[in-house]
């Protein structure tokens, strides 16, 4: 199996450095790299699959109430499924979570059905009071995830890292030379 991409290793190092030992998730393709790194290198991180993103945030809230620092991983499409949990549980109770969102619908997207929510992710996060930082370079991933987690758990506010599709699904530019 090829080595995991550097951005995925950075996400794992960052969440671990922020003290998170529980990752609750609904999978998508790029996130599979993160899950593989966690499985291979982070035996102390427990991963739990939820059937739906809203459920993942409920589990994360319970983990926090029990003294843990939860990470929730989802695809941008699942943010829509999460809104009632974030706005009526995490935000009013000041229950933090480190949120890692694999973006669809941004540059490079081919699927029409991913575009509207992809376009809406940032305005939605702003509207509901969830700070967010976009990660589009692998060498920044560890720092941004770690700092987002530190701010989230330090200020008791959920905080999101958005993984840009052009980082997670690299697409080499076509050669300018004629074959």
């Amino acid at each position: 199996m090829p080595d995991a991409p550097a951005w995925a290793a950075g996400v794992c190092a960052g969440l671990h450095a922020a003290g998170s030992r529980h990752v609750v998730y609904v999978p998508d393709n790029p996130l599979s790299h993160v899950l593989r790194v966690l499985g291979e290198r982070y035996a102390d991180v427990r991963t739990t699959v939820a059937t739906r993103e809203e459920e993942a945030f409920g589990i994360a809230a319970g983990l926090y109430l029990g003294g843990a620092r939860p990470t929730v991983m989802l695809q941008s499409s699942g943010l829509g499924n999460s809104l009632n949990a974030i706005t009526s549980l995490l935000v009013p109770y000041q229950i933090p979570a480190l949120i890692v969102i694999s973006m669809r619908g941004d540059a490079g997207e081919w699927n029409d059905a991913q575009v509207p929510m992809g376009r809406a992710v940032r305005p939605i996060c702003d509207a509901i009071g969830v700070p967010h930082t976009t990660i589009d370079r692998a060498d920044a991933a560890e720092d941004i995830v770690r700092l987002t987690g530190q701010s989230a758990f330090g200020t008791r506010t959920p905080g999101a890292c958005l993984l840009a599709r052009r980082m997670t699904v690299p697409s080499p530019a076509p050669s300018r030379e004629r074959a």
Partner: protein, 194 residues
Amino acid sequence: MNRLDATRVLIAALAGEPVVASLGHPAYDLVAVRDRPANFYTWGSMGLASSIGLGLAMARPDARVFVVDGDGSLLMNLGSLATIGWVNPRNLVVIVWDNAAYATTGGQDTATAHGADLAAAAKAMGITAAAAVRDERELEAAIGRATASDGPWIIVAKVEESAPTAKPPLDCVFIKQRFMAAIGNPEPATSGTS
């Protein structure tokens, strides 16, 4: 058995165990019986009480975690049963007050009034310790088994409405901080810093 009486049976069986309450009438009856610091009242996030309980049970394997859910709420998050069946936490007890109605919103029927069986659904999702109870004696016995043996437990208690009049504290952060302190992991931000 109405839901308030059933809630009394539960609280009488508990010491300091955490109880996570679904919003609306399950939370209202819980506070009416006793406003325990180890009660976590939700004011929103319908459907997620069992998920919150699952996360708490995972973080605190040393504690036996109780959830009081409603039939309408659990129907909103049936996937939670599949996740609980998979994670299989021995220390989680989910009690569903099944009045076959959305009582908090005016008494509209839920699917359990028309054949949906939540205890059977739990069993189908791999939760073997699932029980349906119809009176206080059966409920007390089921809670006794759930306290003495490994779960996860799903206890579906058929109840009548009890027209609750009490409501939990309104301050969500107060509810959280009091709860976390009561169960032995106070929120770090509530103590002094060095």
